[in-house]
């Protein structure tokens, strides 16, 4: 018993906050996108592009921050491409997203080998260093847990608040929600449905790739094949669990972070459970949450996953 309690130390909570941040970044973008009526199953690919191009950018420039810029650019382009396929070409969103993921995992592994060759240890690059918030980080117990992180981690949590405000308190948020609920009605009063959906697609791509950059430039200092590890899918689940609300999605992200942190500590403590089994812990938690909350999805945007076609005017 003593043993189990000792898993939940200050370090555990610190790791939870850190490990939740990539999922929260991706989920925040996805909340916007789904609110505008598009489901992005391809987030996993955007996370891994962020991880890969973050490292590539950092390797080329020698700066972790430039790496982040490269990751965001990659996410923007991927989001734009996804938008083009599902908004303009009106392709099936689930199929497109799945295809994006398959390509993303394969392409990044391939490019890593082409650029850096096959090595025993991946190339190590400059990272984004932690920045402790002065004074606040001296608060007993929570100071370290909350205020000794990388700026990107803080940003993830700040964006949750910003997103909530934008979605529910501004005219922009009202338009995004209108576009996702009834695009025809939105268009009838002069709202540009396509433009808003493109904007959300780009935002979602950009934020998911920032989440990827956290993995490769904050948690580590290198790119590892398939390092997104299902975080894109997880972010998707948290959006649905969180009732399409940024705060709800962030709580889902924290569940993931906690599961992941717990899993790592149990391994480190030598708990006699196969590590593969421990790795699925966060997903089991998410699955349980889905089962518990199933069927209460009244907040779901009514036009989700339905391409918008301008009315034929005969």
């Amino acid at each position: 018993m003593n043993n189990i309690l000792s898993l939940f130390t200050e370090e555990f909570f610190y790791a939870t906050i850190r490990m939740a941040s990539p999922v929260i970044l991706a989920a925040t973008g996805e909340v916007f996108l789904q609110r505008s009526g598009i489901i992005n199953l391809g987030m996993e690919s955007m996370v891994i592009y962020g991880a890969f191009f973050g490292v590539l950018g950092s390797a080329l420039t020698g700066s972790g921050w430039m790496g982040l810029a490269a990751a965001m650019l990659a996410g923007t382009i991927t989001g734009l491409l996804y938008g083009f396929i599902v908004i303009t070409l009106k392709a099936n969103q689930s199929v497109t997203g799945t295809a994006f993921n398959i390509v993303g995992i394969g392409l990044t592994s391939f490019l890593a080998r082409v650029i850096w060759g096959i090595r025993e240890l991946p190339v190590q690059v400059d990272t984004i260093k932690p920045w402790s918030v002065p004074i606040l980080n001296k608060i007993p117990f929570i100071g370290h847990i909350l205020f000794d992180h990388s700026p990107l981690v803080y940003l993830a949590y700040i964006l949750v608040g910003v997103a909530t405000f934008v979605i529910f308190k501004t005219t922009w948020g009202l338009k995004v929600r209108a576009v996702g609920e009834n695009p025809r009605a939105a268009a009838s009063i002069g709202i540009n449905v396509y433009a808003w959906r493109y904007f959300c697609a780009i935002l979602a791509g950009c934020l998911a790739s920032m989440g990827g950059a956290v993995l490769s430039l904050v948690d580590l200092n290198m790119f590892v094949d398939g390092m997104s590890g299902g975080r894109g899918y997880f972010a998707l689940a948290t959006v649905i669990l969180g009732r399409w609300h940024p705060v709800g999605a962030a709580i889902g992200g924290l569940v993931f972070g906690a599961g992941n942190a717990l899993q790592m500590r149990m391994q480190a403590f030598g708990v006699k459970i196969p590590s593969d089994l421990l790795l699925i812990l966060p997903f089991v938690l998410a699955f349980l949450a889905v089962v518990i909350f199933h069927g209460k999805s009244s907040a779901k945007p009514a036009a989700l996953a339905k391409p918008y076609e301008k009315e034929a005017t005969i």
């Binding site: 308190k169 501004t170 009605a185 939105a186 009838s188 009063i189």
Partner: protein, 533 residues
């Protein structure tokens, strides 16, 4: 009188169709001007041009005697034109205020300022007699209230010329009366109303003047008080039409369809039909009246065996069919004219002859020894095309390329040529022009005279009252009452459609149970979503 709207020599063509041929329309300020015509006559095209949704090939538009060019709805709104669409352009999960302010510049841009907006809405409501709770969610409002929200939305945006596209198609008679009162109040305040419709009764009831379109051409503009229904119908169709039907007495004895305390659930697991009991005899037409979405679809589906019964029993010719398949029910001589002819009644990519044999394909002479007899199929098709007057290039023409009226004739030919014992007809004339409507109604009367039992589900009260021997009113899946024969009172039916039980009708207790359930509509939305993800 100054003119509010003048459209001169408007020409608009779509690939293969000339939708407006030199149409000129003049609307005086402060009048209610009806735009009358059949489906496809060009009314909606003309109004879409006025509202900037499409651009004319040639022609000029004047608003308040100023020449204008309207390239988008935004331009139209700038010129004070508002459009209330037939299918409301509202977002169900938003509040009334959110719906009305959506897309408008907020005084605190980019922040929302719902308080200021709310006051403005209440002000408009007070001055124009449009009462609605600004904090209510649109999904919790009745259809009539939703329409008021649409009207406020247009006025909020500064509209003083309102285009209303078939505004009464979703309303009960009482709600229609309320709307008419509102429209009169609006015109007294100097607003101008353009009222698109194909219902003659409404033109006579509300409009000051009528402009009639046919096949994209202007037939004429007349003062309502100088004309009558028959004359307008003639202008609309181009020939004499019969607005009333002669019903011959028939011999009604055998009960063909017998529903006993039927319960059935909808996709959300809620009861869509609650304790429905009714009988239809051979030689009689029983009408089911009600606002759309009150269990009519489910009623047709349980009879056809397409939806499981929760409780109760259904007897066709004294035989219980609750455990039978749809095929068995069809073979008992049950025909159905479904709600959505293009989705449920026809396979649009199939030819006329393929569609005609959809129900009898497995029986001789169409199939012999397991193979289709092509010659028999073509012969049968040619016979039906002639008999039912289907306008087509031949049995091999694709049904998808035909007009709505001709498509419905294909359905009728298939369903009625089987000499059914029971016909379940769901909105059989929906979207058809007067000529085709007249034809369909006559065919149903023919079936009645032949001795078939007909169950007619329709939201058009005129249709039900013209054809039916008895009328049953459905509200939220329950039967509110039944009226028969000569004693039919429209107001009573209207009240029952709003949820007043027949036994309470004349007690002076107008305890309206509620409005047409928004919950069920929301349910339908979510079920279609499930299919797409």
């Amino acid at each position: 009188m100054p003119t509010a709207v003048k459209m001169v020599n408007i020409v608009k063509s779509f690939p293969g169709v000339l939708a407006n041929k030199n149409v000129t329309l003049e609307v005086e300020k402060g009048e209610i001007h009806a735009l009358l015509g059949e489906n496809g006559a060009g009314k909606t095209t003309l109004m879409n041009i006025l509202f900037g949704l499409s651009q004319p090939d040639s022609g000029e538009i004047f608003i308040n005697d100023q020449r204008v060019s309207i390239n988008s709805p935004t331009d139209a709104i700038t010129h004070g034109i508002g459009m209330i669409h037939q299918h409301f352009m509202l977002i169900p999960v938003f509040t009334v205020t959110e719906n009305i302010t959506l897309g408008e510049h907020s005084p605190k841009e980019p922040l929302l300022d719902l308080e200021t907006a709310k006051n403005k809405i209440l002000e408009i409501g007070k001055s124009a007699g449009l009462h609605v709770n600004p904090d209510a969610k649109v999904m919790d409002l009745c259809v009539g209230e939703q329409q008021r929200v649409e009207i406020i939305k247009a006025i909020y945006r500064g509209a003083n010329i309102l285009i209303m596209d078939e505004p009464t198609s979703v309303l009960t008679p009482q709600e229609t009366d309320e709307l008419f009162v509102i429209l009169h109040q609006l015109t007294e305040k100097g607003n101008t109303i353009l009222f698109i419709t194909h219902k003659l009764r409404e033109v006579m009831a509300i409009s000051d003047r009528v402009t009639v379109l046919r096949d994209g051409s202007l037939i004429g503009t007349v003062k309502t008080k100088d004309t009558n229904r028959n004359e307008l119908a003639k202008m609309m169709v181009g020939r004499e039409v019969f607005l009333t039907f002669d019903k011959n007495p028939t011999h009604k004895e055998e009960v063909v369809l017998d529903l006993q305390h039927v319960y059935a659930k909808n996709e959300c697991g809620l009861h869509a039909l609650k304790d429905v009991s009714l009988q239809v005899k051979g030689g009689e037409i029983l009408g089911i009246a009600g606002v759309d979405g009150n269990g009519q679809n489910e009623l047709a589906e349980v009879i056809m065996g397409l939806r499981p019964l929760d409780r109760g029993d259904i007897l066709i010719k004294q035989r219980s069919v609750k455990l039978n398949t749809t095929r068995d029910i069809i073979d008992l001589g049950v025909s159905c004219i479904p709600f959505l002819r293009q989705k449920e009644g026809l396979v649009l990519t199939f030819s006329v002859s393929e569609n005609l044999i959809l129900k009898e394909w497995h029986n001789p002479p169409i199939t012999r020894k397991g193979f289709f007899d092509t010659k028999a199929i073509i012969d049968l098709s040619k016979k039906l095309i002639k008999e039912y007057n289907i306008k087509t290039t031949g049995p091999n023409a694709k049904v998808g390329n035909m007009s709505g009226g001709n498509q419905q004739k294909v359905v009728l030919a298939r369903e009625l040529s089987r000499n059914p014992n029971l016909v379940v007809a769901c909105h059989p004339t929906h979207g058809l022009d007067i000529g085709a409507t007249e034809y369909v109604r006559q065919q149903l009367l023919k079936e009645r005279e032949r001795g078939a039992a007909v169950l007619l589900i329709s939201t058009e009260l005129d249709e039900i009252m013209a054809l039916c021997d008895r009328i049953v009113v459905l509200f939220e899946g329950q039967i509110m009452g039944e009226v028969a024969g000569e004693k039919i009172n429209v107001d009573d039916i209207g009240l029952m459609m709003l949820g007043v039980r027949q036994e309470n009708l004349h007690h002076g207790t107008l305890a309206v149970a509620g409005c047409s359930s928004a919950e069920t509509k929301r349910c339908n939305v979510t079920t279609t979503e499930k299919d797409t993800i």
